[in-house]
Symmetry: C2
Subunit: 124 residues, 2 copies
Amino acid sequence: MKRDYVNVFKALSDPSRIRIIKMLFERELCMCEIREILHLSNSTVSQHLTILRNAGLLADDKEGRWVNFRLNRRSESPFIRSVLKLVKESFDDDAVIRADTRTVHQVDRNRICGIRTRTTKPSE
Amino acid sequence: MKRDYVNVFKALSDPSRIRIIKMLFERELCMCEIREILHLSNSTVSQHLTILRNAGLLADDKEGRWVNFRLNRRSESPFIRSVLKLVKESFDDDAVIRADTRTVHQVDRNRICGIRTRTTKPSE
DNA sequence: TCGTCGTTTCGTTAAGTAACGAAATATAGG
DNA sequence: CCTATATTTCGTTACTTAACGAAACGACGA
């Protein structure tokens, strides 16, 4: 209860996690979509998502075999809401962030997922 | 140049550094005043201040043998200014932060400093 | 110029973090 | 039930971080 805010800032202290949050401002994503865009392993992405969820920044809904991750925009914590607002308004001058924002709208979950657990591209 | 924001969030990911920033919203402080309030060693406090300064959150002015640390309120970075605003508006419900805010107005640099390098109380 | 005192730097140690592959869970469909 | 698939958990490894004391630095004042 006491110093949760430290965990929020720690959650934000990683480029991959900032990228995840910025992508989630565009739309909900499942783990394997994020994995595909970030080029990280399943377990690594899952860890990042756990950290963001434990910090109170993310929520998730199960939809069949997928888990849809989304921003916790309606958090009861004013601090969380302020932080999300800050992130929403920042980093748009970053080339990687801009590329992600574009990519995230072109990703089709049904093409990308479905090949075991993989880090390489689906075309291979 | 690319991902400085990660260093900003890392700088905020420590309770002592949040306490320092919140105290600096009250007034400028020298290193030994901060050391006294946080009960940490010289070198640890100096490290914290370096991290905050490198992140762009702090500036300092030399005044004789003292170095006065202050918030970098006039940073040219909108992100830094937004972050400082966020911190200013947060954490006031934290008991430690509230105690610090009170203490910082009672601290007299000339009583507290001046006994070599020390972590214990000045009354001893 | 010689201490003194505020601050910084150095070297070390203990603890925390990010990454991965492999194994374990859980859920839909045949 | 059995298999495929999406996600999580486990165990390991390399790296980072926070803390300290000791030593160095730098600016005043006797």
